[in-house]
Symmetry: D3
Subunit: 228 residues, 6 copies
Amino acid sequence: MEHRLDTFGRTLVIAPHPDDEVLGAGGTMARLAAEGNDVFVAIVTQALPPAFPAGTVARAKAEAGEAHRLLGVRETFWLGFPAAGIAETAHSALNAALLELVQKLRPQTLLVPFIGDMHIDHQLIFLSSLVSARPHQAEYPRLVLAYETVSETNWNAPYVTPSFVPNVYVDVADHLETKLSAMKAYASQVREAPHERSIETLKALATLRGATVMRRAAEAFVLIRQVM
Amino acid sequence: MEHRLDTFGRTLVIAPHPDDEVLGAGGTMARLAAEGNDVFVAIVTQALPPAFPAGTVARAKAEAGEAHRLLGVRETFWLGFPAAGIAETAHSALNAALLELVQKLRPQTLLVPFIGDMHIDHQLIFLSSLVSARPHQAEYPRLVLAYETVSETNWNAPYVTPSFVPNVYVDVADHLETKLSAMKAYASQVREAPHERSIETLKALATLRGATVMRRAAEAFVLIRQVM
Amino acid sequence: MEHRLDTFGRTLVIAPHPDDEVLGAGGTMARLAAEGNDVFVAIVTQALPPAFPAGTVARAKAEAGEAHRLLGVRETFWLGFPAAGIAETAHSALNAALLELVQKLRPQTLLVPFIGDMHIDHQLIFLSSLVSARPHQAEYPRLVLAYETVSETNWNAPYVTPSFVPNVYVDVADHLETKLSAMKAYASQVREAPHERSIETLKALATLRGATVMRRAAEAFVLIRQVM
Amino acid sequence: MEHRLDTFGRTLVIAPHPDDEVLGAGGTMARLAAEGNDVFVAIVTQALPPAFPAGTVARAKAEAGEAHRLLGVRETFWLGFPAAGIAETAHSALNAALLELVQKLRPQTLLVPFIGDMHIDHQLIFLSSLVSARPHQAEYPRLVLAYETVSETNWNAPYVTPSFVPNVYVDVADHLETKLSAMKAYASQVREAPHERSIETLKALATLRGATVMRRAAEAFVLIRQVM
Amino acid sequence: MEHRLDTFGRTLVIAPHPDDEVLGAGGTMARLAAEGNDVFVAIVTQALPPAFPAGTVARAKAEAGEAHRLLGVRETFWLGFPAAGIAETAHSALNAALLELVQKLRPQTLLVPFIGDMHIDHQLIFLSSLVSARPHQAEYPRLVLAYETVSETNWNAPYVTPSFVPNVYVDVADHLETKLSAMKAYASQVREAPHERSIETLKALATLRGATVMRRAAEAFVLIRQVM
Amino acid sequence: MEHRLDTFGRTLVIAPHPDDEVLGAGGTMARLAAEGNDVFVAIVTQALPPAFPAGTVARAKAEAGEAHRLLGVRETFWLGFPAAGIAETAHSALNAALLELVQKLRPQTLLVPFIGDMHIDHQLIFLSSLVSARPHQAEYPRLVLAYETVSETNWNAPYVTPSFVPNVYVDVADHLETKLSAMKAYASQVREAPHERSIETLKALATLRGATVMRRAAEAFVLIRQVM
């Protein structure tokens, strides 16, 4: 395995919907926690009625609780915006909520969804995440990485919406099983193969991303900004 | 499985080096042949001495012979340019060799390496392939697709060299085993996992590309041009 | 002429405003219908009062009716969203309307406006069209193509908004006259040359797109996704 | 110095927030005015209560008044949309306000914010500015340029949001002092170095943009469209 | 018609092969000459034996002579590099030849082929043209524009090689006939429609480029750099 | 100042021509050395006669010696390829020379020129640098960054050749003076302002890159690949 992930340090993972954080960065989160770093998660939306059945939120929270316990997450924040409703949410409210959290937690690293994801919630949350990380104060997140979300990132329009072409690889060989367990904890979200949001697909993705850099398993990211 | 690959028809696969055609399109070739289409392969380079050990060419031809037999290739053409020497080859000579082959075989479809591949042989052969497919005569290849080559395509420079973002998916679920057998026939080229050019990586890639479109296994391509 | 457009099959054309479908794909629609395929049109918006004069909707419906009759459209669906008001429409409502239609019609092919078009209605409808075509169920549209719309596509910002660079050409030499007749049926939308939305411009565009692939007339598209 | 800026002529600068016009184009505005061209400014938003403290608008107007006097601006228009609220503003209303102004002033040149700026106000105002400049009437702005705004343009996501890569350079060596004075007039907006919105940064930017084309100071732009 | 093309002034058109300058910029050259500007042409290559039949060069020179006379070209320079052989030519020699010409003629404007053209001669000549225009001396070309060449520009690989997306339009309504006559003077190069290099295609292209900006005919360019 | 540059570690800077390494990464090199990391430089080309005057190489070596001494470089390697002659050099020879050096030095980090630089030497050396860093062996450079070179990077073709849009910032506030001293040691290469290769421009660039991330001075890079 590589050196420790010292460049990450205290890390906040911003997830549009519960499970995005595991799909995209679950192995990295587990490795960070195992190496002694504080890992926080912000779940931006909730599947609120009437758009979603009653009970969906409670179930998601229970699943996320277990998933995050497995990964070693220190604390999870539910921002409570409406799922599939970010386009109808005041952009300044989303900015404010994320900024407040960043100012409170003072993370060194942000992991954010990718602007090219097919879901407009992801696109807008990406933009607000960057606003919360503006590099114009004494302190701000030194490292911002976008993760890939199977069932969103690959379904967008090749070449005409922003493409996810990873340039950062994190070795998660020792943490892949933990990631898969965390995903299984999101029982309501897992699908049977060959659906993209299946355990088999996550394994294949980890194998492929790892092989690209001669590792048994990896998660891949697009660097947004790093200050050293 | 999907409908038959009628839009492909008679197909020529252009490979910079022996095995590229299997890595990128072996499953599609097997499916095409199984559905009754003529599949041809042009291997552009040979690993000639003194840059490569004596016997390398003979071994490659033997391996390719077996691989292509498994896939159902109708005929293989060895163009004989020097491997890792395309940058020192007259561009017009490469253009002429490929054009002559296209005019002789009159394929309906060309499968070509990707311009963004890390190896400059791939980049230059992509350009010459396009010259050979110029759409300015009564007949020319109606469909031109670029395939991905593990150990080249993923090793280039994200965002600053052309990125492979697939928009065409071919279901190869019924032909993946044949592809893997063909790759194994290239015994001198296969590597142990977690190297990209391993059987495990090819399986993972097929699983991931398939899952993106809800299939058990697929090969993915970038469309260069289609005329209907 | 080329082979039949068998890869298209049952086709749904999504038009932000009445006439976009003819500008971008009228010849292809006519050819598809002539070859025996079912062609459907969804007109997403209507020019509702008070933003538009009373009677505008009725006139548009009458014009579309005649245009679609000429092209051989099997059925036209008016989704009724407000023209120039999609940015103020709930994104989830637009997603739902298009998804419902796709699930009802089960088209093999979707023709959609281009994300880089200048009109924000086009941009947002492109995104929702992709949501309706998510490749994660047993059935979904196998082919998604974006068409170009004179008076929108060419007026956007070169290089900094997504550029329309066609990679799919459909020979419409035998159907150009039908397309032009259909456009003339949209009498309220046609302009005098040298306006882009003129008959002369449509002829020039068809001639240019055709000449690129050695045909007398063609329509050009950007491939979003094809599964075979 | 270069020839006169005859290709600009009558110019309208569209600024999302007061000071953007000075940050991005203050030197060019001063040069245009000095060479006898009419320069207009449209400030699209105001920092309205309760999102911003009472008195903010009045102060901004006073500062802008002085800044524009120094630059030689002929008239300033306050469109009155809410700052940080453009995403919640009807897109058609913004289109209409800008179109009305363009039709009234009939400028030959538009200077607009850049679509890739981090602030969503900038992104949406860029789009509406283009709508107001549609090249489909007898008259429309012949030249449209996007300017760069320190503290917005450089803070976006490299390669995955549109990048500002300038292709037009305006020599402002004789007008840099005026630009800096105008910026100082925006006392509430200037920050201490090393903040991007500082006098030192503006000087460094002018020096760098100038040096690229062998001038002592320049402002740089991205060309959106020019008709000659 | 627009104002005079004062921003162009003394202009050098760099053509990889004889006729490229007419295909891409013939109307603009005619307008420039008609407005009193000096227009020069550099033909970089010649179709030398044995790659081309004896007599080809002489015929090309005769055709170019007549074409340039019609357009009002002041002087034509034949640089004598081998056609389809630029990739085998020393890059520094090409740089030197173009630099020497630029230093001798001191043009205010350069019109160059497009880097995305399919022909590698065009790509490499684009690069050398930029070297010859380096903005690091007291004098250099203030305006550099790339023109489009039917039968090269449209035949490259969409999205994965550089795309020609024009941002500069020159009204050539009063000079289109002259351009077409000049093209006809290149009798050995003109093809029958629907070939791209036909008179009909050039007319269609001029109509389309014109319509985009509400003119009867235009030529379109991509701006590389302008200094004012 | 930031944390130590632990992610860099042992670093090899690849420079096409003597001084490129200082222009692009001199401050980072000084900081790395000051923090105890081994810094190596490979100068790929030499200005050999007859293309360059006799004595040029000797002078360059003397200047580089002094510059590198100031920066704390541990060892400098002169690869001896001909300056302005890389396009005529066998690509495989360049690959081999760089690969041999990487295998010998086993650096953790590579700093390489940018593929979008105007000089074709830079472009080709970028490609070969990536070949030397192929991530397919037990060891390879974990971090590859491209630096910007004033007088090359900014002179290329905006949007149609690869653009340098930095995503990694290194604080060099405490090392800027050392960088400028090293540049002055390259007396034959420094130019007077407003030339890009002047001390004033380097200061402005450092100020601007620093201000973007709220630092007094920074150098900026494009991340090619990082494995952690």
